[in-house]
Symmetry: C2
Subunit: 685 residues, 2 copies
Amino acid sequence: MKKLATALALGALTLAARADEGMWTFNAFPKQKVAAAYGVTVTDAWLDHVRLSSVRLAQGCSASFVSGQGLVMTNHHCVEACLEQLSTAERNYIAQGFYAKTLAEEVRCPVLEVNQLVEIRDVTERMKKATAGLSGQAFNDAKKAESGKIEEECQTSPALRCNVVSLYHGGIYDLYKYRRYQDVRIVFAPEFAIAFFGGDPDNFMFPRYDLDVSFVRVYEEGKPLQAKDFLRFSRSGPRAGELVFVAGNPGGTSRRLTVAELRYERDILLPERIARLSELRGALVEFQNRGPEEKRVSQGLLFGVENSLKAFKGRREALVDREFFASKVEEEEAFRKKLRGDPKDGPAALAAYGAIEQAEDLRKSVRFELADVMGSAGFMTDYFGIARTLVRGAEERQKPNGVRLEEFQEAQLPAVTHRLFSPAPIYPEFEIFKLTWSLTKLREDLGPDHPFVKKALGAEAPAELAARLVNGTKLKDVELRKKLWEGGAQAVGASDDPMIAFARLVDPDSRAVRKMYERDIDSVVTKGSEAIAQARFALEGTSNYPDATFTPRITYGTVAGWQEGKREVPPFTEMQGAFERASGRDPFALPKSWLEAKGRLDLKTPFDFSATTDIIGGNSGSPVVDAEARVVGLVFDGNIWSLGGDYGFDPKLNRTVAVDTAAIAEALGKIYGASRVLDELAPVK
Amino acid sequence: MKKLATALALGALTLAARADEGMWTFNAFPKQKVAAAYGVTVTDAWLDHVRLSSVRLAQGCSASFVSGQGLVMTNHHCVEACLEQLSTAERNYIAQGFYAKTLAEEVRCPVLEVNQLVEIRDVTERMKKATAGLSGQAFNDAKKAESGKIEEECQTSPALRCNVVSLYHGGIYDLYKYRRYQDVRIVFAPEFAIAFFGGDPDNFMFPRYDLDVSFVRVYEEGKPLQAKDFLRFSRSGPRAGELVFVAGNPGGTSRRLTVAELRYERDILLPERIARLSELRGALVEFQNRGPEEKRVSQGLLFGVENSLKAFKGRREALVDREFFASKVEEEEAFRKKLRGDPKDGPAALAAYGAIEQAEDLRKSVRFELADVMGSAGFMTDYFGIARTLVRGAEERQKPNGVRLEEFQEAQLPAVTHRLFSPAPIYPEFEIFKLTWSLTKLREDLGPDHPFVKKALGAEAPAELAARLVNGTKLKDVELRKKLWEGGAQAVGASDDPMIAFARLVDPDSRAVRKMYERDIDSVVTKGSEAIAQARFALEGTSNYPDATFTPRITYGTVAGWQEGKREVPPFTEMQGAFERASGRDPFALPKSWLEAKGRLDLKTPFDFSATTDIIGGNSGSPVVDAEARVVGLVFDGNIWSLGGDYGFDPKLNRTVAVDTAAIAEALGKIYGASRVLDELAPVK
């Protein structure tokens, strides 16, 4: 019945879907549009409830409260790092899954942080005033100082996280105030084999058969959080054609970039990132062949690399589409034409296009310095991250808040120390592998005669230096990190730890490049984008949504498949399909638990589904809710066409991919015997 | 003194160099231009002598006769495959070098083939007549049949190699008749560490300190070839500013491509190749960490991958240069404008631009099928190459010559069997590694549900299938290959060798895609390019040189450095520089022989030099000769700017990089005690 229902729904959808584009902020949701298109009234109370029920995982995912005892539902791939960190050679939670039969068995994740958006305040005027008439370094400094001040004023406790968020590329500045939770414990996760059934070949594809779900619990003062707002759980999932909403944190989109910026992405950023990640992937896959333990400890990084790779390839595919790129060029031409008739904001905006193009040219010419000297692409080991945080933290914390590097301003410190003092395990062999690899790339990018390369490598070969630093450092010891952090500049300066010494050695160069970057590139693009945004507001109003910025957004659409050439892709799969697709070989091997439970399952249970909602990376773990704010699905992916969504939403092809809550209930009950979790999920009233 | 000489020379050069562009055919060398610019008369006898003294290595390099006893000088990296094939775990000629102290110790290379161009004949009229009025498959078939016929008529003995060569993208068809030599023996090669000092970091860079030289000897009927034409050897090398010529076989350039073709290279071909090779490189470097034997057997492939990678990156860099690409667009626009005023050839040429653009769009949409189904990118193992040759060879040789696949036409068979029956070693572990990798990429490119992927993989995982095929095949046995080749269709069809069975399984799909490719893409582009070339000839004459096609060419220029930003790069390095650059760590470690000989050397001996000659990949091993046809250098590289030379020659920056013959003489005599070779080199009269 489902297939037919969809076929009928599709025809009707085509026009409606066109209007469904948009990653809306919770305080500017287009209620009238939804009412007009669907006859559904979205109230402010509904929006508040959904916002407070939805959370962000600070490490880069979305999630939602699904019980009054702090139970949070997200993707398996959003807690994979936690599972990896809690695993050992003997006890592999990635391979075997995890289930805490009792509350006492729930285990704290070393790094997870949950953020709940409790308040939004407009601070545009304050920000504009602070930067009025400034440019270059002065513009950047003033912006940083003012946002630091606003955040510091807001953040009256480490339990809060305050961020000044730039929306519409600086058209609006909002202060986002989050409730921060750092005690997050793992409750349930299925086996990797079913969470990511089909693996990289099926990633960003649909039809799919993945149970990419996990549950964690937020604790407050050692006890489960009493959550006032949470989503009720539908055991039957959504219907084809049904209006649904996705609340989550899309990481970033580039729909409003200038053509100069898009060209940089198309010609430089994306192809070079893809090549670099491809090389790392090749090395990692071979590293895993060293043995099962090497495979286990590098699994998370490999997943991340492959996931990014596929996403970047999809984005590139959109930009090298001749017609699509030409449409972006035309769009900009048309807007610039309008600007030429706008004596107030036009001249500044037109000048901004030229300034941005120049900045992009500069970015191109110094891109390796930006990645390898300013960033730390050349030093890919957790130890270097720790060492740099200690070295910089010590120096920065001596300064007044407003002039510090942004990531060491007061409002950021709780997140910094949460990561810094994490007991997550670190494996020397893998660290040496990563550092050797990245030092080799550093030398390749800049050339062996670059002064920075000579300084970093000295007379040593990359593998030599990597082994010396990793084997010599004592930073595995969390207590030592605490001592150095608390000891400040004196303690860090006196340390003879080789990784600390190395971080000290390379830091001045890194800071110098960063200064140049902020002065000559970042501030130019930011200021230019603001000028363009301002002119756009004046000409077109603010009825549109801003580019995504990894802040809470809500999007709406319907449960629907799509037309792939001549083939129609239906919006639902069933559990049965997983058994049909299984070949017994990784990544198409079902776990034992599934093979054993097969007879007990209702194989017609809807498994995964697709919807027209407008999402992007960062939305992983987002709840799909119906008009009554009941969770009916769990976003875990988009189809291949969703990747071009970075640059524009194509309603005909772009689809969200989600796990059906019906499948989650079926699996928890009949496969995993996880009645404690299933029973806790508040049933739909 | 040298530095000063160059500084003076440079100013004078700038204008002259602009005229030095061009990879000229030997029968259309611009003698007047050279006479006008340099006051040097190049005679036909001189050109014939240099052409006959220069040779092509069929595997992809250039070289030259340097004695009357068949001694041939080329690069170390041109015989690296031979050295690898002759090495064993115990006797590593790559690491240790090779020197045959007596004629008897010279060892035959398993695959090397030397080609000497003895005659050029214009066959344009015959080719045009054969294809007149045809298009698509018919055009392609007629072209193939006619060139096959011409080649067969020409090739009266297996010692000849006849190729119909398309020049100016089909503007001219010439028959190139080569004398073919397949008994080629290794005489001398230095250690890899000095042949490729600086390794990948220094590749395509200058200043350089590489002794990238080797000597082989051509044998005829078991005896050293009595070579009538050979180059005399200068022990002092060239002077800065001196007029020099490079005779060699540039592999391919794209200077006359349409914008649609260039856009395909910029947006699709280059970035995707770079990403794929990067991944392979990452995997290979890690594969080498398995052990010294794995490192040894995979060294050649890794070098090839890294070399291609750097070359592709350089080419991409040229195409993503906004101004450069814009100049290509403008150039084409200007030419199309001219065409609109040309009633004779204009309409066909203008239509060709549209047809080529459509063909490029089609190429984009089927590119993975082209690479993985038609080509054999998905089956990267020597065994598959052998199996496919046997399967196809058996089928094709039953057909009349004119309708065979081109590579199995009569004229090609001596080269085919030379490779097929080569005793070069094959290492199972490495073959499994390569085949696993490429099968994984095949599945990734086409997706696990593609019918071809299902057919090729069946229910097996890539690693499983790879191991089964490689461990099961008996094709290591050269006698078995000969039996199957001679047994033809019946023997091959009856074989139960798993690799043969696999090649039989996938061949129909591969042939079907190839048919589509030839009909809808290749013939459209070829015919379109011919139409454009014809119009160009009519409008602009044939005073220009054709794009490179791995056929013998001659280019001229001067020994000169260049201006790199504010820094002036002098044209010569000295042997001393190698000792200064050496860090003792690979790839900057000098071999023991050099460290021991240091005291005996004249450290002021010029080592490597740069010149303004117009070369590209394939020119490796080319002799640099002076106006008296004396060899003064050995081309082994270009600078980083030479890589953009694929699309256009920039006389300010593009430089050839060569080993100075003075350094070759110094090293042969004082480091290697290779007096037998040194004495044989005919001194300059």
